[in-house]
Amino acid sequence: MGKITSPPGWQQLPLDIGLAKQPSFDNYIAGRNRLHVLQLQAWCAGTSEPVILLLGSRGEGVSHLLQSCYHVLEQGQQPVVYLSLAHDSLEPEQLVELAVFDYLCLDDLQAVMGDPVWERELFHLFNLVRAQNSRLLLGGKEALADMPLNLPDLKSRLSWGLTLVLQPLSDQQKVSALQTHASERGLELSHDLALYILHRSGRSLGELMVVLDQLDQASMRTKRRLTLSFVRQEMGW
């Protein structure tokens, strides 16, 4: 899941929304989440609440935004770490070691909630982060109520910071997003065809991007343009 820009030896891995480009605030389609982006930019600048909990359904851009923060800070030469608790193989006991970073972006909180060891170690990390005035950005792809969080101490600390919940894009914004991303890949996707895809595919941005990926690859393979018949044939709709 991870990627590193310096030093070499790290491999580029796909993002959870299938974007080929490096995630950034610029290529995030904010829709109704404009203020959230501003909050996160303020977090990177050190001017916001130091602890932020960013929640959203899968494919709504939680990982994209956490990684955007990581890249901004990394470019600003800040000691920062981005870690997916779902994909990166860290032992829970190693979590507190991360407190040496000034900025921590911990993604996929939902993957470890319910595990008493992880919950306890996160709680200790939280205390260290606060004691050392570091900044912690936690990302989760489920509502807090859906996470089987057992440790009340951690629960109360999670509600202590600023909670941001990403709102899904409207259908019109999703159509625009599909067209924009298609265009970035050199594909021409009409409004009607984008709407056709939206009406048949899973409608989170992540799922739409997976469809676009599949169509992109099929288009390259068959050297065909995106047409209604091509999409129907390729997607089996």
Partner: protein, 501 residues
């Protein structure tokens, strides 16, 4: 000389530390000896900070113990640009790679501030210079210890502790009320007569109600009235880690001296001692020593001592020797008062109605109240407003309240809509097309489209195996009715609110 001293230190450290830690951090340091000073150089600020926080205390002890010529000044700093150009250039990328490898084994992305390239730009030099100011210097001597460590300062021959007290938590900004006034009075009593009747003071209650605040307030007050008092606040986990470190580095005597030389020892969340036998043993002796010396102990826990699972009986009974006081969740009036006080500190004018609105919705603990207020303040700052009303608060808290709602499912939407119209779910998803069923069905389908990310074919299937085009048709009908019929629009909005959209 430099090589000798540093090599001796390396030999000890390699035996004491796990190989991974030793290879990742210690061996990477460059050493230089000039005059009576040993200078250790880290390749970047990240390494510098890491070594400073984790190993410097031990290194300084070793330098002090192993230096044959008595006084040696130990300095930890960054490699300068010239160092890098002359000697490190060729190994820089190897070092960084090793560092990244260690951290990246997990797959994490890491930025450690230093650039990987060999060329040292002007920008890099500036960074180095700015960081140079953070260089850590230790004066160490075997005959006359002067170690300025992270946690202990030697002052006039005695042990002076870094208190770890948060200056923001004082009695002035603690808001007392019926649910916490006993604990508040007990804490005040402790500062009047430390080490006497209420020793230990054991504050317990659910998380997020102000136990830690009161603890720090005691510390801050005692420090204010006696700036030379030795005060120490630690989380129970820190006590445990310190003890482990002391055993590993064979410095348990120093550990004991450190913890037993305080005037006030405050340990947070002692419920985490449960089941840790070694920690409990050590704490038992520390506790006895402090009590004998009439040094004050303040402890917090989320439950009454007798209820802590895995806590030894001798500790359970000792925790009750002084005074045990409980903090209860704040009642409405107290929650409102807390919000007003906190808002004032944030320079936000919160009217009574808005405070009441928040306090009625957030009931469980003060941390959550603070979280809610932070959401309001953050939004006010972005919108450049300092006057807040209920509508603004309602909007600002949308996220926080939504985070506690379960994720919306088609099942939930069907249940709510069916209940609202007095139908059964099987009616709602049936093939029948009577008007009393069609209207709610259309609403439920539209809500499912608007509030979930399910595909339209999935939504159609969930409504009795209908086609995606039926969902689109329902959506169009509902849109038309919302525009033309006010009552219908209100019902739709009401249902959406119940479901949590």
């Amino acid at each position: 000389m430099s090589d000798d001293l540093w090599n001796k230190c390396l030999a000890v450290l390699s035996a004491e530390l796990p190989a991974k830690e030793y290879n990742s951090w210690i061996i990477k340091l460059d050493s230089e000896f000039s005059g009576n000073s040993l200078r250790l150089k880290a390749s970047n600020r990240f390494v510098l900070d890491w070594v400073k926080r984790k190993y410097l205390e031990r290194i300084s002890e070793l330098v002090r113990d192993l230096a044959e010529d008595g006084f040696v000044e130990l300095e930890l700093c960054l490699l300068s640009a010239s160092d890098k150009q002359s000697s490190v250039k060729s190994t820089q990328s190897n070092k960084q790679q090793r560092l990244a490898q260690m951290l990246s084994k997990s797959g994490a992305k890491v930025s450690v501030q230093a650039k990987a390239g060999d060329s040292l730009s002007a920008q890099q030099s500036q960074v180095d210079e700015s960081v140079q100011a953070k260089t850590t210097k230790l004066a160490v001597s075997r005959s006359k210890p002067k170690a300025q460590r992270d946690r202990v300062k030697q002052v006039d021959g005695g042990v002076r502790h870094e208190s770890y007290i948060n200056p923001d938590y004082t009695f002035d900004n603690f808001v007392p009320g019926p649910s916490n006034e006993l604990a508040h009075s007990a804490a005040k009593q402790v500062i009047s007569n430390p080490g006497t009747d209420y020793n230990p003071l054991y504050i317990y209650g659910p998380t997020g109600l102000g136990k830690t605040h009161l603890m720090h307030a005691i510390g801050n007050h005692m420090l204010k009235s006696n700036p030379s008092a030795n005060i120490l606040y630690v989380h129970s986990e820190r006590f445990f880690q310190d003890m482990l470190k002391a055993i590993q580095s064979k410095s348990t005597n120093e550990f004991k001296r450190y913890y037993r030389s305080v005037d006030l020892l405050m340990i947070d969340d002692v419920q985490f001692f449960g089941g840790k036998k070694g920690t409990m043993d050590e704490f038992f002796h520390t506790f006895n020593a402090l009590l004998e010396g009439k040094q004050q102990i303040v402890l917090t826990s989320d439950r009454f001592a007798k209820d802590i699972e895995g806590l030894e009986d001798r500790l359970k009974s000792r925790f009750n020797w002084g005074l045990s006081v409980c903090i209860e969740p704040p009642e409405l009036e107290l929650r409102v008062a807390i919000l007003h006080k906190k808002a004032l500190l944030c320079n936000i004018k919160l009217d009574d109605e808005s405070a009441l609105f928040i306090a009625q919705r957030i009931r469980s603990n003060v941390r959550e109240l603070e979280g809610a207020l932070k959401a309001v303040v953050a939004k006010a700052n972005l919108k450049k407003r300092n006057q807040i009303n209920v509508a603004f608060v309602q909007d600002a808290l949308k996220d926080m309240l939504a985070s506690h709602d379960k994720q919306i499912s088609i099942d939930n939407i069907q249940r709510v809509v069916a209940e609202y119209y007095g139908l059964s779910i099987s009616d709602l998803v049936s093939k029948r097309r009577t008007s009393n069923l069609v209207k709610p069905r259309h609403i439920a389908m539209t809500l499912a489209k608007e509030l979930t990310n399910h595909s339209l074919p999935e939504i159609g299937r969930a409504f009795g195996g209908r086609d995606h085009s039926t969902v689109l048709h329902a959506n169009r009908k509902v849109d038309d009715l919302i525009r033309s019929n006010r009552e219908y629009a209100d019902s739709y909005k009401h249902l959406k609110r119940i479901i949590g959209g």
